[in-house]
Symmetry: C2
Subunit: 203 residues, 2 copies
DNA sequence: GTCTATAAATCGATAGAC
DNA sequence: GTCTATCGATTTATAGAC
């Protein structure tokens, strides 16, 4: 038990380096955007050199993709947590609206998401990978809406997956505009969501 | 009347150069995006050199802003045209939905809009100018929705300006995702819009 | 006003030492 | 695996000729 941990330290050290790089890169990408963040700045800010980055990621695009993966993971957790609290459907919708309101209040993510999506026009790899993730996000939100509504015995006019597409798109678009204009009213998200999920209840 | 036109030709020539540059820059910006379009490529593609661009625009940012102005102008014209056709409110909504469907089918604009918005994080000038234009777009759409609904004697649940904010944001977000994923369902825009503008009619 | 030439800075990516 | 050094390619912006 004395030297055993040393053997794993090699792999663990690299894992720590990778996580540290993702952590620092995330802050930079969210603060100044993708194009304004050079690979060198990330390395230096993390206390490494460019070589360390290239030995953990194929390049800038894969680094940003790894960052987006951590963000997407947290977003899904937040949405699931809001929609699975112990309350009726109205309470769950309120919880989600509150979560969305906080997220849209400081919407650095959406700006990065759409800026990085522009890279997809010249990078086929980014395009296919981003499409995968967006479809996964829409699917996850779709089944969640489907489950919440059916559990509550409510029938909504719009298809669950379409509602998920609309809400994700609205969140992204609203966040992008909000990150530009701090005075933009964010409550329109909750209002639109309620208009979409306004169901015809059946006992 | 023989040499009189010659005196104006100086100014007219420069105006033509400026328009030509905006026209070519628009195509490039929409095709490959803002960051992938260098000032030099625009100049060469237009049959000029970089000097011609710098004598007509302060730099790349102002050039793109001029391009966005022409696009915004056309967008407003399209929306106004759809909402002022000779029909009842349902027919006008259908016309707008059809217009939006065509625009979102090939949403090159939204991708440029959000990509350029990312520049605002490091350029204060771009930030203030873009905020001006977005607020103008929302205002224009808001008064249009207000007028159309009141003309039809319909009262909608959501405030007109909020509905305009939601629809513009949804269009931008949906377009950004659609430019990434061609299989994305665009009809959700029309469905969301109808859910928002579902009014309680009063004679 | 437009063009040519150039300055100056930045960034991605690679090669080789350790 | 990480670091140092460096190449090569772009880009913005300016200076001076015409």
């Amino acid at each position: 038990m004395s030297m055993e941990p040393e053997r794993l330290t090699r792999a663990e050290r690299q894992a720590q380096t990778r996580e540290r790089l993702i952590e620092v890169a995330r802050d930079l990408f969210l603060d100044v955007g993708y194009n304004a963040t050079s690979l060198d700045k990330v390395a230096v800010a993390a206390g490494f050199s460019k070589g360390a980055v290239y030995s953990n990621f194929a390049g800038t695009e894969e680094l940003c993709m790894a960052v987006l993966d951590t963000i997407h993971e947290e977003q899904i957790e937040g949405v699931v947590a809001a929609f699975t609290i112990d309350a009726d459907i109205d309470g769950r919708i309120d919880a989600f609206a509150q979560w969305a309101r906080e997220k849209l209040g400081h919407p650095r993510w959406t700006a990065l998401e759409v800026e990085f999506a522009a890279i997809a026009r010249t990078s086929p790899w980014v395009a296919t990978e981003l499409v995968k993730r967006h479809r996964m996000l829409v699917d996850a939100a779709g089944v969640l809406i489907e489950k919440v509504t059916t559990d509550a015995g409510v029938v909504i006019d719009i298809e669950a997956r379409k509602a998920a597409t609309a809400l994700l798109s609205l969140g992204i678009g609203l966040g992008a505009m909000r990150s530009l204009d701090p005075e933009l009213d964010v409550d329109v998200f909750a209002e639109t969501m309620r208009a979409l999920l306004r169901g015809t209840s059946r006992t």
